[in-house]
Symmetry: C2
Subunit: 222 residues, 2 copies
DNA sequence: CGTGCAGTTGAGCAAATTCAACGCTTGTGG
DNA sequence: CCACAAGCGTTGAATTTGCTCAACTGCACG
């Protein structure tokens, strides 16, 4: 039975006034930050959608688990990203945190009500949803590629979203990458090795990837 | 070089007042219907987005062609569907018609301007974009499945969108289905045959599929 | 009545998965 | 503090799945 949106028992409300990084939404709507331990569930499929979420730090994955036991990850969210933007009342995917994370929660119905009056808020909802749609479309494109190229495309996406310099710190494990790309861990691992042998990357640690030839990665995944 | 949104040379404006099936948008915005011959390009990637589109009849596909020669179809649109909902100025996918189609074109900037004032129009834009996002997410889920199950999922989607009874008239060719599912024509063809042998469908003609056991299809693709 | 395109089927091949083993890191308890 | 168990990642070998290449059928159109 779906929970009705009550905060999870592990959740730790931190403050009830907007923190400095809060978006303009938050000032209007009393957004609040909750800390989640690793692998904590944020919401699950079919559950009533009570909040929109913004990643303050940490990272989040949304997914569905299929009858055959496979899990398809729909998206990863990193600091700054907003997720859970449901127009209807129910979530269509499950969401949980990849590593310990702080999330800003914004009351969904309050924001929707605000958007009824404030054209700026309404426009922002549309813009964010459209950005999410583009991300999903890019994700779909990856499935036209063979394994190594999918992994290259994944690294390009992650580099764009969280690389400061020429190094990416991946927030997720190999299994998560595999479930995002529709591959197995073994194939992902072999793909990393192959990209290393192509001098495109160096795997400094399993999570920390040095991008030695970014354009080669882009070329592979296009 | 991208066209700047001028109507294609083959386009046939039919009337300049809204037809009876026009959405409320059209009455406000002087939408107009254009007829496209089979395989006509509607717009291409990177092109300036001048219009939103609604399928009156016929069908449309959006896609990207990759460097490896493969084409990944992002979505099919059938009568009633709206597509081309770009928030920014540029299209991110190409679009062309699958079979002869009539499309209702609505001036993009005019509708965006209207949405600035009319909260109803703004809400509709958001709703339509969110529906499109859900469709893309469902599409992504299919890639977690093996070939036969992907085809089953495809048939379920098409049945939901255009089946009157227990028969679906597919608007697209096998190659299009293959490019939507990340498979080859041969594999799609074999999957149809397998589904037939499982008594889930009967292929009456290559385009007309009798759904003999809809729930079996749902089960396979879930 | 061909000609051409779309779809199906078969055979061999390539790519990714499965199954298995092993190294490395991390954390825990003796 | 060390030993060892557990989890993650990598690698190898065998298997399976889907792809490539090729032939053939049926239908539509000129």
């Amino acid at each position: 039975m779906p929970r009705t949106g009550a905060l999870p028992h592990h959740a730790t409300p931190q403050r009830d006034v907007p923190p400095t990084y809060a978006s303009p939404f938050a000032r209007e709507l009393m957004g609040f930050v909750i800390s989640y331990p690793p692998d904590a569930e944020i919401y699950s499929e079919e559950e009533q959608a009570e909040y929109f979420y913004k990643v303050v730090n940490g990272s989040v994955r949304t997914y569905k688990t299929l009858k055959n036991g496979r899990r398809q990850i729909a998206a990863f969210y990193v600091p700054g990203d907003v997720f859970g933007l449901e127009t209807r009342g129910k979530h269509t995917l499950s969401a949980d945190v990849v590593a310990e994370s702080n999330l800003l929660l914004i009351n969904r119905s309050a924001l929707v009500a605000l958007a009824e009056q404030d054209k700026d808020a309404a426009g922002r909802l549309w813009t964010l949803t459209a950005a999410e749609l583009r991300r999903a479309q890019d994700h779909i494109q990856l499935f036209a590629l063979p394994a190594r190229e999918r992994v290259a495309g994944f690294l390009v996406e992650m580099a764009q979203r969280l690389a400061a310099d020429d190094e990416v710190e991946l927030p997720m494990a190999r299994q998560d990458i595999a479930d995002y790309l529709g591959l197995t861990v073994e194939t992902v691992s072999r793909s990393f090795t192959q990209l290393e042998r192509l001098d495109a990357i160096t795997v400094r640690t399993s999570r920390r990837i040095l991008l030695r030839n970014y354009f080669a990665l882009v070329r592979l995944s296009a």
